[in-house]
């Protein structure tokens, strides 16, 4: 067993070899930090953390779909839907632009629970379409994505929703510590709790093992007695709940919601997972990897923003990073042949 023990130096070199893109971005961050004054500020750090936290929740949701060789294109629209529902229900009772005037002011805790149920329902629908109607996940969620967006537009009347209860926005945007010095946003803790929870589910529970087994070989898993149908439904339902939480948090963080909120987040989440080593051929992916993938992507955005790059070029760079990161990751497997 001594063979497995490497020196710390060798380990670091191995880590760098394994994740060149991560190293590159960390170096870029340091360089930008030296050039621009505000880069290494608490405000910027806090901003990065909050952005990463929400994206991380979405990525955790979609990761189960990816590990089982599926995908979930409805993630972004589900986030938007949850944000719209949360937004409507969390409007102040005396706000003149209230969408549903007949309704009394709601407790934001109850709203949270309602949003969770809504997410669960969307996830169940996806799971049932994939497992019972045998529609490939790519197509199934392409369909539900459009349906969900349509319903978001209907219930929000295609209007932006504002006038939230103060407690909703202040709680979600709250932090430990003083804004001007060291402080940690509450969102960071939310992300940490779910990170640990998902790590536990993926590594220590039957559900997690079944998920990897389905990704590794679905037929073999079925023959081994794994209830693949139920496991997949559970994965898509869990994903729906995660998007709902992200949507609830995102509406409060932005101080407003609209049906277009969350558009394209599914692709960012899938990109983050893939950069973090989740294999689209199934069976491979870890929670720390997903965190790194999402973090790297958010770090990249902030670096570009600080460098004053034309925002249109941001997309070009982000796309290049996705292709580069995945091609480097895949080299690891090709080289072993």
């Amino acid at each position: 067993m001594n063979k497995n023990k490497q020196s710390t130096g060798a380990k670091i070199i191995g880590l760098i070899k394994g994740n060149p893109i991560v190293l590159l971005l960390v170096i870029a961050a340091i360089v930008v930090g030296c050039l621009k004054d505000n880069f290494f500020s608490w405000a910027n750090f806090s901003n990065l953390m909050s952005n990463t936290a929400i994206r991380f929740l979405i990525a955790l949701g979609v990761s189960g779909c990816l590990i089982t060789k599926g995908t979930d294109l409805s993630a972004g629209r589900q986030v938007g839907f949850a944000a719209v529902v949360a937004g409507i229900l969390c409007q102040k009772g005396d706000y003149s632009g209230r969408l549903w005037k007949f309704m009394p002011e709601m407790n934001i805790g109850i709203v949270f629970l309602i949003v969770l149920v809504v997410g669960l329902v969307w996830g169940l629908i996806n799971g049932l379409i994939v497992t019972k109607l045998h529609v490939p996940p790519f197509i199934a969620t392409l369909g539900t994505q459009t349906i969900i967006y349509g319903i978001s537009l209907v219930i929000s009347d295609a209007q932006p929703i504002g006038g939230f209860q103060k407690i909703y926005t202040t709680l979600i945007n709250g932090r430990i510590g003083d804004t001007r010095s060291f402080h940690l946003p509450y969102l960071l803790f939310v992300a940490a709790i779910f990170g640990v929870l998902f790590w536990f589910i993926y590594n220590k529970t039957r559900h997690g093992k079944y998920m990897y087994a389905i990704g590794g070989n679905e037929v073999a898993a079925e023959v081994s007695g794994v209830n693949t149908t139920f496991t997949l439904i559970r994965i898509y339902a869990t994903a729906g709940v995660m998007y709902a939480i992200a949507g609830y948090l995102l509406a409060a963080k932005s101080g407003g919601a609209s049906a277009s909120m969350g558009q394209g987040y599914e692709l960012e989440a899938i990109a983050g997972c893939t950069i973090g080593g989740v294999s689209t051929t199934g069976g491979i992916g870890t929670v720390p990897g997903i965190l790194i993938g999402v973090l790297v992507f958010e770090l990249l955005k902030i670096i570009l923003q600080f460098l004053g790059v034309n925002p249109y070029y941001n997309y070009v760079v982000q796309g290049l990073v996705i292709v580069l990161a995945v091609s480097l990751d895949i080299r690891k497997y090709i080289a072993k042949k």
Partner: protein, 503 residues
């Protein structure tokens, strides 16, 4: 001019943690069949993949007609006249025979004088010609997915022949063929010999080797052991060289005593009219029931039906007199039935997952703390118990199962099922593609399980294995059970008589 069409010498190849080839060599004479033999994991397939350009050699050289050559990839190998028919066939089922054969080198013509398009007429005419060469009569425009395994193999051979090959590698070509189909294959090989093609023939079947081979090279643990003329060899001598030890018992002495009937199948019929029908049989406690028949006798389909992988219309399964409602594998598993499937890669291993994950997947309920958290130590203990009991060779429990040899993968899968402590164990070709040493170990495990009182159903296409291991043999033909033979009275002849009882 060299005596040999192709020589490989001093070939070394390492994979992470394994030295797969250690100065291996092979010299092929034109117009001769060269058998390459060795236990699984001896490096036969690796050596062939080096020759065919799939793997790069770490060391060593390849000479053709005495001149050194380098082979960069399979396309390069084909251009140099080397063709390979893989152990697991990889056709494109949705495309036609012709398209499969000419894949990657379609005959072209110019439309309107300048637009290059595929010349379908030439392709199908050439295909028909090639099929005649390999003595096959089906339509070149038929979809490959509609062919039987042996027909698909003929297509692969036709594809190899079409490349005007000088060296043809056949990796376990007969593992899924009936004896008639094997004869047809041998006729094709004879034709190829007459055309001066050097054939590399990898197989575990001694009688075939002794019949068809001219030269025999034996490998062991990635090393070259020696090359002999086939006429100088006997089965015993080959086995001795392959394993490096004398094999005294081919089958272990069984001391199991079949008891009362525990498992009964009545009038079991598939939803598919061409599959199994009206099957009745009983299984006793501690009994090994062999299931014999030709390929296509629907033995696998029957067992998959009993296990809930396939659907049935009529019939029932009784366990200790009580009917078992089985509609999916989980139902069968919950009732103490286990099934080792025939297709190890397709429905057995989960390749990218670890040995530990693979072995524990169907018994995870046993390793839980507080009812939900998997205890890693208990899983590790399961792995270690199996590694010791079955002599599984793996660098660690975290190793991806796909990097183990076939025999070791199979042992892991046996371990997966035993972890559930089943009462009835269905084994579908449990020793297919497994080396002689590991085979014997698996026979011992089967014999021990029967002695412990477990009831075993074993499908096997190897006659000697059926006769050597079974208390009773059930023979099937074309979806029907055609008879039962007591293990002591079974001979190849009386099994074959039942297996060919077509209606």
């Amino acid at each position: 001019m060299s005596e040999y069409v192709l020589e490989m010498g001093g070939v070394c190849k390492s994979f992470p943690g394994v030295k797969a080839l250690d100065h291996a060599q092979l010299k092929l004479r034109p117009g001769k069949v060269h058998a390459l033999m060795g236990e699984n994991g001896a490096g036969k397939s690796t050596l062939m993949k080096c020759m065919f350009g799939i793997f790069k050699m770490d060391e060593g050289e390849i000479r053709m007609d005495g001149k050194p050559v380098t082979i960069t990839d399979p396309m390069d190998a084909l251009n140099k006249g080397i063709a390979m028919v893989h152990q697991e066939l990889q056709p494109i089922p949705a495309r036609t025979v012709g398209e499969n054969i000419f894949l990657g080198r379609y005959p072209m013509k110019k439309a309107l004088g300048f637009i290059p398009i595929v010349d379908h007429k030439k392709m199908y005419d050439d295909t028909a010609e090639l099929l005649r060469k390999v003595r096959m009569t089906f339509d070149p425009r038929q979809k490959v997915g509609e062919l039987s395994v042996s027909q698909m193999q003929s297509v692969e051979i036709a594809k190899a022949v079409s490349a005007n090959c000088r060296v043809l590698i056949l990796d376990e070509p007969t593992s899924s063929l009936t004896s008639n189909e094997v004869e047809a294959l041998f006729r094709i090989i004879d034709d190829l010999k007459a055309e001066n093609v050097a054939v590399v023939y990898i197989s575990h079947k001694m009688d075939e080797i002794l019949r068809i081979a001219d030269d025999v090279t034996i490998m062991r643990d990635g090393k070259y052991i020696g090359t002999w003329l086939a006429s100088e060899l006997t089965t015993d001598k080959i086995i001795t060289q392959m394993v490096g030890r004398e094999l005294t018992n081919l089958y272990p002495l069984r001391t199991n005593v079949p008891g009362e009937v525990v498992f009964e199948v009545k009038d079991f019929t598939s939803i598919n009219p061409r599959s199994f029908r009206h099957v009745n049989f009983q299984l006793r406690k501690g009994e090994i029931l062999g299931v014999g028949g030709l390929v296509g006798a629907q033995r696998t389909e029957l067992m998959e039906g009993l296990f809930g992988i396939r659907s049935h219309t009529t019939g029932e399964i009784l366990y200790q007199g009580k009917p078992l409602p089985i509609t999916r594998p989980k139902d069968a598993i919950d009732h103490g039935i286990a099934m080792l499937t025939e297709d190890r890669r397709g429905s057995g291993i989960m390749g990218v997952l670890s040995v530990a994950d693979n072995i524990s997947i169907s018994s995870l309920n046993k390793y839980l703390d507080h009812g939900f958290a998997i205890n890693g130590k208990k899983v590790e203990q399961l792995v270690q118990d199996n590694v010791q009991k079955m002599n599984i060779k793996t660098p660690s429990s975290k190793t991806q199962i796909k990097s183990l040899s076939g025999g070791n993968q199979q042992k892991v899968l046996v371990g997966r099922w035993l972890a559930n402590d089943p009462d009835v164990l269905i084994l579908d070709e449990p020793t297919r593609g497994i080396d002689v040493g590991a085979k014997y170990e698996i026979y011992c495990i089967i014999a021990d399980l029967a002695k412990e009182g477990k009831s075993i159903i074993m499908i096997s296409s190897e006659m000697s294995e059926l006769i050597g291991m079974s208390d009773r043999i059930m023979v099937m033909c074309d979806g029907r059970v055609t008879g039962f033979i007591d293990g002591n009275e079974a001979t190849q002849e009386n099994i074959m008589a039942l297996a060919t009882q077509f209606e």
